[in-house]
Each structure stands twice: as C-alpha cells, then as structure tokens.
C-alpha cells in the first residue's frame, strides 16, 4: 500500500480478515439471539455503527452516522439480519453486507416501522403472533426517534437495552486480535518515523499532522481518533488539542494516538523529552513507568499462578505505586480500557468500574499518568493482549517505554 512501510498489512491479510468476519457472523448472531430469548424479546433493533459492522459488515466512517439518516441501522430476528440503507448507501450495503436483507425507508423510519416489524420472524416460539417485543439500543437511539417508533406500532413493546452486543465484543476472535496488533505496528512505526522532525521551534500541530500523515499513508485506513500532541505544561491536559505554540527544549512532549485497520483500532501514548529532562521531570517519568510495570507484572504473575484477576486489581497495582509517591490525586483517570471496533470499550480498568474478572481473550490499554497542573504531564500507554485460557499475555505496543530524549544535536 505504501512503499517503504513494513507495518502495512498486505492485500491478502485484508482479504483473510474480511473472510474471517464473514465466517464468524453466524455464531456472533447466535450468541445475541440467545441473549434476546433470555430477555423474552422477539428481535433486536441496532443503531450503533460498530455493532452494525460487527453483525452485518456494513461500515460507516466515524461521524458519518450524523449524515447517514437511518442507513446502517439494523434488525436481527430468528432467521436473518435486515440492514437499512437509503439510495446513497444501497450499493455499499449490498457489497459489504451480502448476507443481509437490504431495506430502504424513503418515507422515514417511523412510517416503515410497522411493515418492517411485520416482515421479521420472531424469536419466540409463537411465530403466529408476530413481533411482540423488540430490544432497542436505548443508549444510541435519540429520544425523539424512540417516541416516533413507539407511536408507529403501539402494540409492539420497545425494550430499552444497553451493552448486549458490546459485551460480546469484549472477547476477541483471532482475526480481531491480528488487526489490533497490525494497527499497533503501524502506530509504532509512524511515531518512530516522526522522531527526526521533533526539534525546538516546531509546533504541536505540525508534529500531530506529520504523525497523522504517516499513519494514514502507512497502511491504516483512518486514525483511531485525533492525534494529541501536547508540550510542556499542556501535557497536563488529559484531553488537549494540538496548538500552534512552538516546542521548547526541556519540555515533555506527549503523543496520544492510534491507527485503524479494517475497523480495529490501536491506542498508545508516549511522553518524550525534547532535550535532557531535569531531575524532577525524570522522576515523574520513572514513577509512571514503574506504575505501568507494576500493572503489567501483575498480569504475568496472575497467569503464572493461574488465578483469576479483576479489572480493579490491575488498576490498583498501578495506582498503588503513584499513591505511594504522593501523587495519587494527580492520576485522575482509570488505568485502562478495552479496545476493538471502538477506541473505548469494555473492560474498564478503573476504581469506579464494577469489579469483574478480566475477560479473555481480550485487549486493553495500561496507561497510568501523572498530571501536574501548570507544570508537566506524563502518561505511558500500551495495549496488552490477554488470554487467561492460553496462559499468555503480550504487549502489542513495541515502541520503547524507557525514557526517550529527542531533538538533540
């Protein structure tokens, strides 16, 4: 795809992943159907683009759902998936979702709702009564649309559900793991190739764009999210956008970024030093690195001793190191999050997350940070592929974690 990139997946890789998705969808659908039967509903109406991609193959780019109308929304019944696509998306839907029945709703979704429901084969045993209740992704359907659908077929109960498909997506199939690893490799290589451009005087925005360009010409179809590049005290903003200030010697330079490969995402953070850091910044860096190592070591220890480990234990391992150094209140976010078709998915590794054993196999970030308002910020973030069944875990992010000085000489 791009001459000189060693991380770019081959056309054969991409074809293999698409076929793996196609082969996996019947089982994914069966798992969902079992959940629906347990809930006592007859069908499912999905709104979230990632869920549509997971179950049908239809792709909307990030944000495209805002202009796509109902295109990409979908039904699951006892027999098939029904994908909505207006005339703009018809050819794309036929190509990407060959096993779905494609339907248009030119008069609006509410007008078509009764007929669409009537065309579904209910999951209940009593097929003759039609669809009596349908699970709806209430966290993604706007309230105005909900009201319109409820009014369009008042005899059909809309059952507000959240997280059914998201829970399935937590455990990853081999081809999903491969794509996340491929996205990590592209991101690693892009940062490595950007290092020579870092020097005094260049702006955050210029570096963010240079890194973005390398990701998007290096084998990724898109960024996972907008590149963060924050220098000096701005690195203490966990969600800052790159600015037009020039980078100065002695500053930290925090990059938070990711790539997207056939829908699957990576996410990594590196905090570099532009010239030699002072003793204080160096100590903060080593503290964060030690916190990250503690969380990762705990994963290895749990696997070796074959004991289950919870999301909160991983968070606690990193947090204990930072707490002990007196910086607990400078680490305001969780230690990690799952990743896949969305950049942030389950499991959530934080103090506030419901305590639960780590699912498996899965991928999540380990990303402790220390943010000193008005001074400096350090975060180090890697993705970990974790498989308790196989007794293994793997760091998918390969860029060095050790303190890295750039822009010298």
């Amino acid at each position: 795809m791009h001459v000189g990139s060693t991380a770019a997946p081959s056309a054969e890789d991409r074809q293999r992943w698409r076929l793996a998705d196609l082969a996996a969808r019947p089982e994914r659908l069966d798992v969902l159907r079992a959940s629906l039967v347990a809930l006592g509903v007859d069908a499912y109406f999905g709104v979230r683009p990632e869920n549509a991609r997971y179950l049908t193959g239809f792709v909307l780019a990030d944000g495209e759902e805002k202009v796509a109308g109902h295109s990409g929304r979908f039904f699951v019944d006892a027999a098939e998936t029904v994908l909505l696509a207006d005339s703009r998306y018809r050819l794309q839907a036929q190509s990407q979702a060959p096993r779905s029945r494609i339907e248009d709703t030119p008069g609006g979704l509410a007008a078509a709702w009764p007929e669409l429901l009537g065309s579904l084969r209910p999951l209940s045993n009593d097929v003759s009564r039609g669809v009596a209740g349908i699970a709806v992704e209430a966290g993604f359907l706007d309230h105005a649309s909900w009201l319109a659908l409820a009014a369009a077929a008042p005899d059909v109960e809309l059952v507000a559900i959240e997280g059914l498909i998201e829970t399935q997506r937590v455990t990853k199939e081999p081809s999903e793991l491969e794509r996340i690893a491929a996205a990590c490799a592209i991101a690693d290589e892009a940062l490595d190739a950007t290092l020579p451009q870092i020097r005094e005087g260049v702006t955050e925005r210029e570096l963010a764009m240079a890194l973005e360009w390398r990701i998007r010409t290096g084998g990724a179809e898109a960024l996972a999210f907008d590149v963060a590049c924050l220098a000096g005290a701005r690195a203490a903003l966990p969600h800052g956008s790159p600015g037009d200030d020039a980078v100065r010697a002695g500053q930290v330079l925090l990059f938070d970024f990711g790539a997207q490969v056939e829908g699957y995402r990576s996410d990594m953070t590196r905090t570099l030093f532009v010239g030699q850091p002072d003793a204080h910044d160096r100590a903060i860096y080593e503290l964060v690195a030690a916190a990250q190592a503690a969380a990762i070591d705990l994963l290895g220890e749990a696997l070796r001793s074959q004991r289950a480990i919870t999301n909160r234990e991983v968070d606690a391992a990193a947090r204990a190191v930072i707490d002990a150094a007196g910086h607990g209140h400078h680490f305001g976010h969780g230690t990690g999050h799952g990743i896949g078709l969305a950049t942030h998915e389950l499991p959530s590794l934080g103090r506030a997350a419901p305590e639960a054993p780590l699912p498996s196999p899965t991928v999540f970030s380990v990303e402790p940070g220390v943010y000193l308002d008005g001074q400096t910020g350090v975060r180090i973030e890697d993705l970990v592929s974790f498989d308790a069944g196989a007794g293994t875990f793997e760091l998918l992010t390969r860029f060095p974690r050790s303190l890295t000085v750039v822009g010298e000489g």
Copy 2:
C-alpha cells in the same frame, strides 16, 4: 499560519470573530429565552455540540462528543448559561466559555440532575416554585439518558423539543458570513493547488489526501467533512469514499469537500475531466451547469423584482432543466442545504422540504447533479450568500464552474 497561502485568515481575523461571537451571545440567548417562554418552559437543556458552541463558545471537535461524556452539554435559564465539563475539560471550558458557570457531574448526570435544576433561575414569573418544566433536545439526547433524567427528578417535566436553536442559526450574523466565506476561499485555493497532481495512474485516495492536506495546512482548523474524490462510474455514488483504483484518462473526477474556519464550514463540489470528455459526458456536464445557473438566476431575478422566494422554487428551477432533458430520475437529492456551524443545516432546498420563504441573510448550497448508474456522475456545488433585506446575493465559491479538463500533457 501557512507560508504561501493567501486564503488563510489572519490572527486578527480570528480574534475579531471570537469577539463578535462573545458580543452576539447575549442576544442569541434572549431570542432563545423568548421561545422558551412562549413554550411555557422554565429552562433549556442542550446536548448538540454546535448549539453549545453557538450559545457558550465551548468547542468539541467532530465526533468528540462520543468520548466527552456530559462535557459540553449545557443549560440556559433566565439569568445565565451553565456548562457541564468534567476535569478533562475544565480548563478548556473556562477559557472558551468565560461567561458560563462551569459544573462537573462526577457521579453522573442523573445523580446531579436535581441539584442542577435547583440551581437554575426559572423563566416563569413564579420563581419560588423552581423549574417545573425544561426543554430538552430530544433529537440529540439518547433515550436511556432521557429515562434516567426523568426518573431523577420526577416532578420536573422534560419537554421534548427539536430545532429551536437550529432555527435561530439559519440567519447568519456578519462575522458568521465572513467565516463561511473564508472557508470557501481556503477550499477554492486547495483545489486549485491540487490540480497539477491529477494525472492518469494517481488514485482517488491519494488525491483526496493531497486535497485534505492543503485545506488543513492552508488556514482551516479542520475539514468540514471527509473529502470525497470519485472517478468515472464511481462518481455516480452520492456518498462513496475514495478508493485505491487508479484514475484513467477520459474519466470524470468528482471532488466534494469543505473547510472549517473558527467553527464555520464550507462545502463545494467540482466534477473535473481527466483528459477531454466524450460528447455524452460533456452534454451531461453542460446540463448540470445549466440547472445550477437556472437556480442561481432565479435568486437574482427574485431580488431584482423584490419578491419573496421559497426553498422549493429554487429546487424546482434546477430540477426543471434536468427534467426537461429526461434525466429527472437521475437527480435523486435536493438542490441545496444551509450551512454554518454544521455542514447540513436549514434551509433545506428540496422537493420534500416544507415549503417556506428563504430566510435572510443566510447561506446555502446550490448543487444539482445527474448520476448514471455504472457510467458517470456530475455534480456542481457552490455556496450562495443570500440577503433579501439588502437585495443582494453572492457566490462564495469562486473556483470556475465551467468545464475543466485536467491531467493533459
């Protein structure tokens, strides 16, 4: 901002626009309050990022609302605006929305809802009773959140509203018009600068990225939307994404793209020819150009004769030309749409839109197209600034509309 770009706004322009927004907000809020009083509600809860920016100044990048939680959501009461921002966004909120009260909801929005409502000053005359009813952007708040808010303060009525602020945003202030014009100029210049790269063998994706780069280094803070670059028969897909096929001689090459300047967007489409077109493609191009000219001429005629003109008349003027040539069923979308903080806003210029006089001053696109499945597609899109009060209109898109051949010799 970028050496060599003549279209990039100056730092003084940007400062002036920000101050104009600051000065305009009290009146924008008063207009909204009058609507709320007419509806009999005491306050407003806003969810849509463009509306937050319009009334408070707080900015979320496109798609950032998916990770921002409740940050950026806002209240309007009789006295002030209240902006929600968690710790990640606190500094940004203080800087961008200096006149808003900033509140965090660390335990979730529903938990904070009763206290937030209690802190508002109701618009009703009876201040002692507190907020009894609040307008909520039902088209942007998900149903699950709606349920949670309704349960958190069962005595306060949630009133589902849509389009209140969007209707205000249709008529543009001078500084809004300036920013849209600046975004158009950046887009014009970016396409012009990309022309030399168009030749046989280059891919849609390479050209889309080259154009994107020129926009984003030419003075725009972002794209208005992902660049479409579609060659040959793919130009017949109104929503296709750039692919990896090489451009060939004799093909049309359709670019649909826009820039963003201090939040305001542009949108333009040009259909170029890679080498000399054949007689059929040339005829289709001239037909679409004639349809566009008919719609634009109608605007001038209506202004000269000082008569009101409706959105449907503009659509009908373009459509009549295409219908008369027997291609009516190859023009499946409306003739235009408003634009501003969102790429697609009111007014809607199409057959299906409710008939209404064109608002004024406003900006909208004029973009007829003819799409021949499997053969070719042509669309020409310009933005028009329309001011019936002043009796003037202006084409903001300056790139030539005449048939343009590229990639020769």
